[in-house]
Amino acid sequence: MKKLLNSHEFVVFLILMIISIVIGFRNPLFFSASTLFDIVRGSIVYCIMGLGVLMVLISGNVDISFVAIAAMTSYSTHMLLLGLGYSGGIGLYLVVSIVFGLLAGLLMAFIVNQFDLPIFYVSLGYQTLWYGFNLFFIGRAMNFNLPEGLVGYYSRFLIKVKDPVAGETGLHVSVVYLLIIAIFVWWLLKYTTFGRGLYAMGGNREVAIRAGFNVKRITYLMLALSGALAAVAGVIQGAYSRSFNPVLFMGQDLDVIAAVVIGGAAITGGRGSVVGTILGVLLIQVLNRGLIFLGVSAEWQKMVVGLVLIIFISIPAIAEQRQGRLKYFPMGKEK
């Protein structure tokens, strides 16, 4: 019990609750099923991408190419299936795009492993490469022609509620995908050699190699999975917004990483959890939407979010400094 209370996830959960209560106190409309479902719905794709990011962060690396992989896989899949005259549902979309995502991840892991390069550096090139590929070889415009099976997908709810303001809304079915993926990643991290290897790599790469972890194989699996998760997120986002976008998520890479880190993953590796990641994404979503409920005008929102982020980042850093744990390590890593 004490362990739970001291955990980072619990602190994030507390902050999330406090913020929600403050917002709800100022504006009772915030406490409604439709708001809750709306926040969940807005979080799903970021949670799915975030779980891929989580694995990479735990291993002590930073990857920013996942947004481009999400855009490339979903847009290519859409254009391919549209060209073939496909009219079914989301199933085949997911399968094809996951294959693309796995391949893109494997290719990246091949470059990283074969030439002994840092993942962050390769991902810089990889991001601009895939966005460029999408725009030049596949298409430049957003595509709104959905196959019949996908047309009603954005309003397929598990639980429906009537809301006086928003009309009929509910808990979206894609939350099931998130649950399956979250449990899968949790299982991977906790009970498999791969998962333990990720933590070992992030703790100390050399020691992980000496301990007998096959670091190269772990890198292959990690980047392939991260690519596949990005692909799933891309397709779901396309189905939500009823359009497939060649520059999907462009410029949002760092926001996702920030959410995962706020959820307790260390940017230097070795620390992070599935629950924390989901809470981190929810926190950002609640903050963004909560400001609307507090009556903060759209112009001031970005600035307020920036200030809150600075406070969120500073408090743990100051606390660690007080305890004397953190000397000065700019990226936080001891050499």
Partner: protein, 336 residues
């Protein structure tokens, strides 16, 4: 990343060519010859001049990113620092316009002063968070990115700011002895940065702090104050880039370049061979030229092809990864 011929100490004037600089020079020459051979318009005065007008803003931001990466930091807020600095400078010049009636050239000085002061202030906040408070730079500068963009939105109400005095556009549109003024500024700043990083005690401390902060600390270097100075310098470089953008486009918008410029500055910085403790201004400048040549070259070659302006993104990614791979083999040969 690349282990280079090192052993520089402040005081001694030595010139050594590093492997990465050599590699980038060869790639740049090959690219220029390639585009020059198959495209007549590429090596003309007007095309070279237009490239020289375009690359300084991103090159200056790349330098700002590179110096932050040299101390194992990162400055993701550099583009928004540039926008915010230009915005505040632009606003002050518009508000003070009656005051400077008849002395418009003086107003340019004011623009520079205000922008650089703003850039330095933005950098100081980054330095405070990343250096003194000890937050991970990637998060600290991401938070300040959001804050600076937020301030820009609040100040302008989301609109684009225009209506600057005519004299301001001179910086972005005129040439001195055939060389565009932005490019002159870029070169001057580049030479200054080269001098500061290679031949001053500060530059040496930056490298020390980046290579091994613990060792630096025990040899009496105050890592925090180095980080603070580096981020302030980075912010000032961003502010200069902001002035060039403002004067070239005759406008300031809070959203200028926000989607692609951060990635681009990271590309330039890493391509130029920057890594904690290591880095070279010449490499960063060459990397800027390479990206600009690829962009202009492919734009000319593929003119009329659907989506031609996007091929550059693809080529940047491919070339970037290719250079990382070549660099890997060069390093390996050396270690054998």
């Amino acid at each position: 990343m690349a282990e280079q011929k090192r052993g520089k100490f402040p005081g001694g004037f030595r010139f050594n060519i590093e492997d990465r600089v050599l590699l980038l020079s060869v790639v740049l020459i090959i690219l220029v010859i390639f585009f020059g051979a198959i495209e007549d318009r590429f090596l003309t005065g007007s095309s070279i001049r237009s490239m020289a007008f375009q690359c300084p803003e991103i090159g200056l931001m790349g330098l700002g990113m590179a110096i932050a990466m040299m101390i194992d930091g990162i400055n993701l807020s550099i583009n928004d620092t540039a926008n915010l600095s230009a915005l505040i400078a632009g606003l002050s010049i518009v508000k003070l316009a009656p005051f400077f009636a008849g002395h418009e050239f003086l107003s340019i000085v004011v623009v520079f002063l205000v922008a650089i002061a703003t850039g330095a202030a933005c950098g100081a906040l980054n330095g405070l968070l990343a250096g003194y408070i000890g937050a991970p730079p990637i998060l600290a500068t991401l938070a300040t990115l959001t804050l600076y963009r937020g301030i820009s939105v609040v100040i302008t109400g989301g609109k684009t700011l225009t209506g600057f005095p005519k004299e301001l556009s001179i910086i972005g549109h005129q040439v001195v002895m055939g060389i565009p003024i932005p490019f002159v500024i870029f070169l001057i700043v580049g030479i200054l940065m080269y001098f500061v990083l290679e031949y001053t005690t500060f530059g040496f401390k930056v490298r020390m702090s980046g290579t091994n902060p613990t060792a630096a600390k025990f040899s009496g270097i105050d890592n925090r104050s180095i980080a603070m100075k580096v981020y302030i310098l980075s912010g000032i470089l961003g502010a200069i880039a902001g002035i060039i953008v403002m004067s070239r486009t005759n406008s300031v918008a809070y959203e200028y370049g926000t989607r692609t410029y951060i990635l681009l500055t990271l590309l330039i910085s890493v391509l130029g061979g920057t890594s904690p403790g290591f880095g070279n201004v010449v490499g960063v400048i060459l990397a800027t030229f390479i990206l600009q040549v690829l962009s202009t070259g492919f734009h000319m070659l593929l003119l009329g092809v659907r989506g031609s302006s996007f091929f550059k993104d693809f080529s940047w990614g491919v070339l970037f990864i290719a250079i990382l791979i070549i660099d890997h083999f060069m390093r390996r040969e050396k270690s054998i």
